[in-house]
């Protein structure tokens, strides 16, 4: 998703972006070390990304949110590598919100995490920061010992001068090093000599996350803190007409009942009192501007849109001529439901508001966007808003909201009670499932023609989906010629060689809030394209893997992951009775993933995904075990949606409310996942999202063979 922000807004080549961006941040970083770091550190901060304490701890400052994807571990590994630190001395701390020092170089002037860009945009930046800090430690040691810096070596957190048989740790030289000038240029390591990058270091957050000590926003406790829940409208865009707070206020522990833009907030001593207060609340809603269509009616409208030409998102050759010349044509329509992100930790934040400051604790995915939005609501300047980023209990995109919905709501409540107490806003699971910001309801129409050689001669693809960016501050910058790139990514850049090719888009206006959902447009584009290409292969009497390989000319990285996954899965070999394999390959966020799903199908048509073989090319694997974990998790998350997740609306009202009717994957449906990583010297790219797109089409392709009937809608179990 956010790679498009870069593409559209800045459009630099990746190389330029990394070079200039990294250099700028580094220089600024060295001159403007974080104030908090200065205040709290035993020794002054050598730069914005690392603080070395006199106690010999190395604290890496993470500008990205840790929401499960392993970014704290990845970012720290990169910096520690060039610093030559010992992994055991490394800690990670979240950076304060600051678009100058901590902007995402792949997003432009904002600090945020998304688009699987954390390691991608940080790689050079953190290598340089680590190398600079190392050089400063070496200089400090050389001065102290009165020896030439060139005679000093550093290894695993220790500094050596072999000639004089002296050595010391980082802590001994941290204070002196911080007083030295920052080297203008640093020499980075030959990747062949990496000792930490590419090695399977333990995650930095595992111990906290297995002992109950990891701190999420849900766990933040401040003196005098109250807990708030909000009664929100049953229909999207409905507003409060009036409310009667008497019964709610009568609930013991309820302190305030206040109206906020999103509804009525009940603020209480504890969660139970707040929930009981909300239950007792009577609210009358103004539904005159609400969205009242249901999903069945919307899909009917979407199908009609798909019968009409849309805005052209990509075009090659002449589609009409292609179809005229084609020997045989195929047409398919695909339906995709609204999906909730449903992270295990529902939305929450803690806000402490005073007349001159606003301090926020959140698993914050869009720090500087949220900082600006919070400032606007609080009536403060952005620099008066301090954001403490804590662990997020999952997000999958939900916590990166262009209008900062849950942050703004928390600040609005704090403001409505006039800063009387710090407020912890929590959403219940029902609030989460019914709260909107879904992966958009989507319909695809796809027509393809085969030439006499059995290869696709023409491909016309119409996508009908709500724009994620429309109506957000990003719209003006990122929606070009009616095309929201997040709606067509994965389809408009289809890698297969097809001479006549056209992708069109309809972006209907619907009053249901939508948002990027782990892998964004690829959640639906990978499905329709990979199901269609599989059907064309089978119609042409070709093996689906070989067929793809033939069409992937000039796309070596696609080819390599596809061939690797097929080989490791035993593609084409005889399977036990009732077992079927399906395959899919897709690039998302610059990483390439192929997956082979092995599905057992029973006589009654019920099925289970037994095994998934995944091959991934993400450039250098900074931590191969984290890469594997993200593929396992991405496959599980994608399979969860493919099997049984959907949000439906009836008369505008969301029909699901909790995990009994919005049903995520459980351990009983988790397949055995094998992950193979392509060895690469290319710069690392993301792994949080790219594992998701191929799994649904791979399973659907296996089912199509098993049932001799194509899959045309998700979820599969309805």
């Amino acid at each position: 998703m956010l790679q498009d922000i870069v593409k559209a807004a800045f459009a630099p080549s990746r190389r330029t972006l990394l070079k200039t961006g990294a250099a700028t941040a580094l220089v600024l970083g060295f001159h403007l070390a974080p104030r908090r770091a200065f205040a709290e550190a035993a020794a002054p901060a050598p730069n914005a990304f690392v603080r070395i304490g006199a106690d010999n701890t190395v604290t890496v400052i993470a500008k990205h949110l840790e929401m499960g994807q392993g970014t704290y571990t990845g970012l720290a590994t990169i910096l520690a590598e060039e610093l030559d630190a010992d992994w055991k001395q490394v800690r990670v701390e979240s950076a304060p919100a600051d678009a100058t020092r901590y902007n995402n170089l792949a997003m432009g002037p904002i600090q945020g995490t998304g688009g699987s860009s954390a390691v991608f945009n940080s790689f050079e930046q953190l290598r340089k920061a680590g190398a600079a800090a190392r050089a400063m430690l070496v200089s400090a040691a050389a001065q102290t010992w009165g020896v030439p810096p060139g005679e000093i070596t550093v290894s695993a957190g220790l500094i050596f001068h072999d000639k004089s048989k002296r050595n010391g740790n980082f802590g001994q030289f941290a204070t002196a090093a911080a007083k030295l000038p920052v080297p203008a240029e640093v020499k980075l390591k030959d990747p062949e000599t990496f000792k930490l990058i590419g090695h399977e270091l333990p995650r930095v957050d595992t111990v906290a996350k297995t002992t109950g000590t990891a701190q999420f926003a849900h766990d933040v406790r401040l003196p005098g803190m109250l807990t708030a829940v909000v009664a929100r409208a049953p229909l999207f865009a409905a507003t409060v007409k009036s409310f009667d707070a008497a019964k709610a206020k009568a609930v013991p522990g309820v302190r305030h009942v206040v109206q906020v833009p999103t509804g009525v907030a009940v603020v209480a001593d504890n969660t139970w009192a707040a929930l009981k207060g909300r239950d007792a609340l009577a609210v009358d809603w103004d539904e005159s501007k609400a969205e009242t269509r249901g999903t069945a009616a919307l899909m009917e409208e979407y199908r009609k849109f798909a019968n009409q030409p849309g805005a052209v998102a990509a075009k090659r050759g002449d589609i009409a001529a292609g179809f005229a010349a084609g020997a045989k044509s195929f047409e398919a329509r695909f339906d995709f439901p609204y999906l909730a992100h449903a992270p295990m930790e529902p939305l929450d934040c803690v806000v402490r508001l005073t007349p001159t400051s606003c301090e926020i604790w959140a698993g914050d995915q869009f720090q500087t966007v949220d900082q600006m939005a919070a400032a606007a609501v609080a009536g403060l300047k952005p620099q008066q808003v301090k954001i403490n980023t804590v662990f997020a209990g999952g997000s999958f995109g939900r916590r990166a909201t262009p209008n900062s919905d849950y942050i703004v709501e928390g600040v609005a409540i704090a403001k409505a009670i006039k800063g009387a107490a710090p407020v912890r806003l929590i959403w219940t699971r029902e609030d989460d499932i019914r709260g909107g910001r879904y992966r958009p309801l989507t319909h695809h129409w796809l027509k393809a023609a085969l030439g006499a050689d059995g290869l696709p001669a023409a491909w016309q693809h119409r996508i009908v989906t709500q724009s994620i960016l429309a109506g957000t501050p990003f719209e003006a910058m990122l929606v070009k010629n009616g095309i929201d790139g997040t709606s067509v990514e994965g389809a408009s850049n289809l890698p297969y060689e097809i001479p006549h090719f056209q992708v069109e888009l309809h972006s209907p206006k619907v009053g249901v809030p939508v948002l990027w959902w782990r892998s964004v447009g690829s959640t639906h584009t990978a499905f329709s394209t990979e199901v269609m290409i599989d059907e064309l292969a089978r119609a042409a009497g070709k093996d689906p893997v070989n067929y793809r390989l033939t069409l992937l000319k000039g796309h070596g990285r696609h080819r390599d992951v596809l061939a690797l996954a097929a080989d490791k899965a035993g593609w084409g070999k005889e399977l036990p009775k009732g077992r079927f394999q399906g395959v899919a390959v897709h690039e998302a966020f610059r990483s390439y993933v192929a997956e082979v799903a092995e599905v057992s199908v029973a006589g009654d048509g019920s099925f289970k995904v037994e095994r998934v073989v995944c091959a991934v090319d993400c450039g250098i694997a900074v931590n191969p075990d984290v890469v594997r974990a993200q593929m396992e998790g991405g496959i599980g998350y994608g399979l969860s949606a493919a099997l049984a997740e959907q949000v439906t609306l009836d008369g505008g009202k969301v029909m699901q409310s909790n995990f009994h009717d919005y049903t995520p994957l459980r351990i009983t449906d988790m397949p055995k996942v094998e992950v193979y990583i392509v060895q690469s010297t290319a710069a690392p790219t993301g792994v949080g999202e790219p594992g998701v797109p191929p799994i649904a089409p791979a399973v659907a392709n296996a089912l199509a063979v098993a049932r001799n009937k194509p899959v045309r809608a998700l979820p599969l179990r309805t």
């Binding site: 595992t206 002992t211 969660t271 295990m344 209990g393 396992e632």
Partner: protein
Amino acid sequence: MAVSFTLNGKVVQLNVPDDMPLLWAIRDIAGLTGTKYGCGVSQCGACTVQVEGEPVRACSLAVGEAKGKKVVTIEGLASKPAKAVQTAWQKLDVPQCGYCQSGQIMSAAALLEKNPKPSDADIDGAMAGNICRCATYQRIRAAIHAAAKSLA
């Protein structure tokens, strides 16, 4: 309005209404935040604690029902199987976001305390009530087997 029970080996007396779910009593009143809220209706298992050695969804048990009983949370895990579970979780780097893992570990510990050598089917039975949106299930299964092996 005072409820007394044993929390991680210590007798606590909480000034709460009897109908407050044990989850909120533990998190908001006793101040132990390792036990998580995920759904409030016994669907996800994030709030799993042990009451008299049995895994229980704290979101759906009124604190009054815990009166006089022994309640153990992630912070109080001490049995040998429980420690083996935590160690295996750490060795295999099971957690991703980590939010559900207290509940996963509480369920896994309860399983191993009763069944030192669980089969895959036993694991399915004991763990199917715990949702992990990061889908760390493969590692959860492997870690339970590894913990069982370490205890053998």
